[in-house]
Symmetry: C2
Subunit: 230 residues, 2 copies
């Protein structure tokens, strides 16, 4: 364990044990450097992830303070469906349900501003059972290669994620009563809702793709990784 890690751990311990409670002003960098017998740079290195995580706050001249938390943050990772299913030890299946071209398809929100689109509906299966219904619009102006890509064996999800770089992602999570397509393809039980993940992917402001991924609620859950320290 490197000095910067030990120092970070020790400072975390002090915060978590309330020895340094919310609002407490930490000794300044030079003092901490002296206490731990290292250079100032090493102290900065130990502290900066705590700043990023919002555990402490720093202001020039004012110093560093322990922050009282106001929210829980965690990282939500959405893997390629196939990986998710296979990692769970299940057999992955995939079926292309619909593929069409057009510029008026389903752009309810006018996000694509009339750009040519490809609309793909596909189904992901786990052990033969419907797992996710993927309904996707792809901006062909931004990703022209997607016009002729073959999505009958590889899902657009997987095709895109590896191939197309993006700079921002907006993910929306919802519980919904199933729509017509959901009921048709997901083999839902009576009164069973769907868990919907909707995602907009952008590159420098231009929207690349918009996708709605619907899961049968029963047995489906999302778990977020804990943004923690050790």
């Amino acid at each position: 364990m490197h000095p910067y890690e030990e120092i970070r751990t020790e400072i975390l311990r002090r915060i978590n044990s309330q020895a340094w409670p919310a609002g407490f002003a930490l000794p300044h960098e030079e003092k901490l450097a002296e206490e731990f017998g290292v250079a100032r740079g090493t102290i900065r290195r130990a502290l900066s992830p705590l700043v990023d995580a919002g555990l402490i706050e720093r202001r020039r001249r004012a110093g560093t303070r322990v922050v009282g938390r106001k929210a829980h943050s965690s990282t939500l990772t959405i893997p390629v469906v196939r990986h998710e299913i296979e990692r769970g030890g299940h057999a992955y299946g995939y079926k292309l349900l619909r593929s069409s071209l057009g510029d008026d398809a389903r752009d309810d929100q006018g996000l694509f501003a009339g750009a040519p689109l490809r609309h793909i509906v596909s189904l992901h299966l786990s052990d033969g059972r419907p797992y996710q219904l993927e309904d996707r619009l792809v901006n062909l102006e931004a990703i022209p290669e997607a016009r002729d890509a073959d999505f009958s064996t590889v899902s657009p999800n997987e095709w895109l994620i590896a191939r197309v770089p993006y700079s921002s992602v907006r993910t929306i999570l919802r519980a919904e009563m199933p729509g017509t397509n959901d009921s048709k393809y997901l083999k839902l039980q009576r009164d069973e809702p769907v868990f919907v993940i909707e995602r907009q992917t952008r590159l420098d402001g231009n929207i690349l793709t918009l996708v709605r991924m619907a899961h049968p609620a029963h047995g489906f859950q999302m778990i977020t990784a804990t943004d923690d320290f050790q």
Copy 2:
């Protein structure tokens, strides 16, 4: 804009423009330092968040490569309910429904290993309408002050988050058909599902609190912040 930021932006541009496609080996640090006219440390500073974000991968002696993505990651922030509602410009309301002590309460999963518990059920309202049903178990061994805390005006959610430090959080998201309590308190429409957030909060392995937060699905959604650059 500082040199390290400009360099990071330029490198991102090269990755996003596919000038440096997935698998591409970046020039090594000394070369980049020379190219940008800065010290090696500044190059490291520019690159390290890209490593954290999984955009590039580095191995000693082998160098640095652009990574083809395998998943979408984003940060899910769950604020205190009151803040969430007030930020939306709505009136916040709160009602304590039930509060009891005991060690056998509802610990279905045996997470608390027989520790004394406090069980609190409360309702959060937005403009007078039910917004969230909070059902919480608090470990009194870890947080003895919670035994006598008054949750009739301040929700346990808010009381805990500011007061009690934690080291890890596990959040589970689900769509569910409403249970008895959900139907009773959330004024659900016919066939309306609930969006459930379940959270376990720990400090150094010890579970502090377990909470189930149920939202009427209609009009509720979670949006994740985009883990992006610039």
